[in-house]
Amino acid sequence: MQPDLERARGVAQLLRALPQETAAPYDFREFQHRAQHRTRATRGQTLAAGALLTLMVIAVSVRFFAPAPPAAAPPWVANTAALAPEARSALMEHWLASLPQEPAVVHLGTRAAVTGLEDRIAQLDDLLSAARAAGEARSQLQVLQQERVRLVGTLVQVRYAETLADDSL
């Protein structure tokens, strides 16, 4: 044990006897220059990291919290303005029938709007059938028909927005 202790002391003495560095690696002016350079680099890295983080937060927000895209009618709807309400409604319903039953990504708000519109159109269909069966006046039927066309047009806008959102994924 004693020889080990002495050897340890000997090692410690050798380590303590190691010489110092003879000079500073560079002078104070160079130190300041390097310090400024490093501070700028660190600040740049911090800014870059902050910008990256901000972009990521924005991307996530847009992906998950952005409202459904604003409704806009398909371009061909504008060309049907001169058509009779029945013909216009038939064209729009044909386009709606060509769409898949469910969009690729279901937005709850949009889906509720679609379901509500489809329900109201179905109610109007019932009213129109009943009115025709009851022999209601033509003007009364036209009012119901125009309302139905308006609802179908709104439904086209909402479904069109859904297809645009799907395409952007």
Binding site: L14, L15, R16, L18, Q20, E21, F28, F31, A35
Partner: protein, 192 residues
């Protein structure tokens, strides 16, 4: 003790440096830079790496200088900053892996790189022996044997147990003894 902890600085110069005077700070730098770099080199080994940590240490030193409360000698305060920076480096996992590859796998070659040019005779052997140690063991043996830290203080600095400090020191001693007793354990290198 190394020269760093014992370095004396005139009170007037220190007060001016704390107030931000550039001339006084340059004087402090001239007095403290060399022993600081020596300490860091002993702790981490390679000179280029030591210069990098040295720059960090001195930047922190001057940044915090107005907050220096004179509870310890200035050199001891700077030594604490330097050792803290060295241990941050040693604790970093990817840097530890790099140091392992550079030093532990090739002790003889690494030792040759680590030796300070201009040293003569026995100092070269001692420095090679120190360089042959794994980085953590080298830091522990230096802190304990030269800087005068206790096992508790080393354990606290590394965030490990006292047993860790003791075992690292024992292994370091064993390797250093083997280095200086080549007739019993031929691990040394004949570098000319």
């Amino acid at each position: 003790m190394t020269r760093l902890a014992q370095t004396a600085v005139a009170e007037e110069v220190l007060a001016q440096a704390c107030a931000g005077d550039e001339t006084a700070r340059a004087a402090l730098y001239a007095a403290l830079a060399s022993p600081t770099l020596t300490l860091i080199r002993r702790m981490v080994g390679q000179r280029c790496l030591a210069e990098d940590i040295f720059q960090d240490t001195m930047m922190i030193f001057f940044e915090r200088l107005p907050q220096y409360r004179r509870e310890a000698p200035l050199g001891a305060w700077l030594r604490q900053i330097a050792i803290s920076r060295c241990l941050m480096y040693l604790r970093s996992p990817w840097r530890r892996a790099r140091a392992y590859l550079e030093v532990a796998d090739l002790p003889c070659t690494a030792a040759a790189v680590l030796v300070t040019p201009g040293y003569r005779g026995e100092a070269i052997d001692v420095e090679r022996a120190l360089a042959s140690l794994p980085p953590t063991a080298r830091a522990v043996v230096w802190m304990f044997e030269v800087e005068g830290y206790s096992h508790q203080e080393i354990a606290h600095a590394f965030g490990r147990s006292v047993s860790f400090s003791k075992s690292q020191l024992a292994r370091a001693h064993a390797r250093l003894r083997a280095w200086f007793e080549p007739q019993e354990n031929a691990t040394s290198c004949n570098l000319t």
